[in-house]
């Protein structure tokens, strides 16, 4: 049975046997026949042709109207056959594209990889998960050995390949900035000019840039239209939205960014994120901001990396393990 031959003789025998016995066995073999035909990319019109020829051989006296009706059926199936062949070739192409994208995704991962600094003064937790193969979110850490920790969190509009390409450009621009300590407002100002010059008019990037000084425990920051993060006050066990004005990167070349500064007390946390976190949906319902904070709070006794992991797991489950948007969450906590 496994060596079913895909030829006229075989089909004719099967058909003849079925007409004679109405046996399930013959029907099962017909099923095998059709599966094998698909494996060999035989289109439906060809099977109908085999059927017509078999009929002619089994019933040489077949009435003319049946013959005509079969020809009519054959004619109507030609286009289906073409559509089937096209479908097959598109499927192959899709596989090709998929593997190309996964190569690109791996390259991007290497390109955008960042090392989370291990510091005594501040403990960091960071997680970024793409909704599709390529990530449109970006985060980056720079530590200058003099106690300055720079943190960038960015989100490119849209997802997938275009967003990833844009992100790679941003990463390269940031790498070309001088290695010395730079002010968040200056960094955003220069990036804005890069994006404005080089990116399609409907594309834009939001970015939050923060600089943590672990000598005096101050946090300086600027935002380019980025989803507001949160500041957690250990003393009162309360969250405060870090809501700072600032236009998204790439809209207007002469945008200036304001820089803010605050002191960070022991045990306080800075929470930075992208809209993949705040725009979570449960079915058709949006998650409210308070729910996000409640979840973070419920894990706040854990080390920062565990907090971000647990929060991600929570929202992943809430969305039936299907992310709609890239998800990036960073938690900083002053330890000493």
């Amino acid at each position: 049975m496994s060596t079913l031959k895909l030829d006229l003789e075989n089909y004719k025998e099967l058909l003849q046997e079925y007409i004679r016995t109405k046996d399930e066995q013959a029907l099962y073999q017909a099923e095998q026949f059709s599966k094998q035909s698909m494996q060999h990319q035989i289109s439906p019109d060809e099977i109908i042709n085999v059927h017509i020829q078999s009929l002619q051989e089994i019933y040489p006296e077949m009435p003319e109207y049946i013959q005509s009706s079969m020809n009519f059926l054959l004619e109507t199936m030609i286009s289906y056959g073409l559509a089937y062949q096209e479908h097959q070739s598109l499927r192959e192409k899709q596989l090709e594209l998929k593997s190309e994208i996964s190569v690109a995704a791996n390259m991007q991962k290497t390109l955008l990889s960042t090392v989370k600094p291990e510091l005594d003064e501040v403990e960091i937790g960071a997680l970024s998960v793409p909704a599709k193969q390529m990530n449109g979110d970006y985060h980056h850490f720079v530590y200058d050995n003099q106690g300055n920790l720079g943190i960038a969190v960015a989100d490119v509009i849209g997802k997938g390949v275009p967003a990833a390409l844009c992100m790679s450009m941003i990463k390269y621009s940031m790498d070309t900035f001088p290695e010395m300590r730079m002010d968040p407002s200056v960094i955003l100002g220069s990036l804005n000019r890069v994006v404005e010059r080089n990116v399609d008019s409907s594309m834009f990037v939001t970015m939050f840039y923060g600089l943590y000084n672990s000598n005096d425990h101050t946090f300086s920051y600027s935002s380019a239209g980025h989803e507001p993060g949160f500041y957690y006050h250990k003393e009162t066990d309360e969250f405060e939205e870090i809501d700072v004005p600032g236009l998204v990167l790439g809209v207007s070349a002469d945008t200036a960014y304001t820089q803010y500064k605050r002191e960070v007390k022991r045990g306080d946390m800075i929470i930075l994120l992208t809209d993949g976190v705040t725009e979570c949906r449960q079915g058709e319902r949006f998650i409210e901001q308070d729910e996000v904070l409640d979840v973070i709070k419920s894990y706040s006794h854990l080390p920062p990396q565990d907090i971000v992991d647990q929060v991600y797991r929570h929202f992943e489950r809430l969305q039936d393990f299907h992310l709609r948007d890239d998800f990036t969450l960073i938690v900083l906590r002053r330890n000493v």
């Binding site: 509009i157 409907s202 239209g225 004005p245 236009l247 809209d275 949006f286």
Partner: protein, 109 residues
């Protein structure tokens, strides 16, 4: 999840009424409708958001490129009747500062 776009003209003003969601799937259609309008000098494009309950960043991108186009072609764009959730997006991204947005009906803060 769908978006219907209704366009009507009165003198120099083109009124766009949006109903539904503006996301990655519907944004291209919106862009194709709104961009040509902003390319006519002196044209005022008024977009009614009253029945838009969701918009994502792709939608925002459409309005950013429309805004750039109005500056280039000397036309004007006005966004009206925005719901809170959608208004928040324009607020966070700093666009409320540079766009003409009137959110009186739904009380967009």
């Amino acid at each position: 999840m769908n978006l219907t776009i209704d366009v009507s003209h009165k003198e120099d003003v083109a009124y766009l009424t949006l109903v539904g969601e503006v996301d990655a799937f519907t944004a291209p259609k919106l862009k194709d409708t709104i961009l040509p309008l902003t390319k006519e000098e002196g044209q005022v494009v008024e977009v009614d958001f009253e029945q838009v309950n969701y918009m994502d960043s792709t939608g925002l991108g459409v309005f950013i490129s429309a805004l750039k186009s109005t500056k280039e072609h000397n036309s004007e764009m006005k966004l009206i009747h925005m719901q809170d959730r959608v208004y928040r997006l324009f607020k966070i991204t700093g666009l409320t500062e540079i766009m003409n947005i009137d959110s009186t009906v739904q009380g967009g803060m």
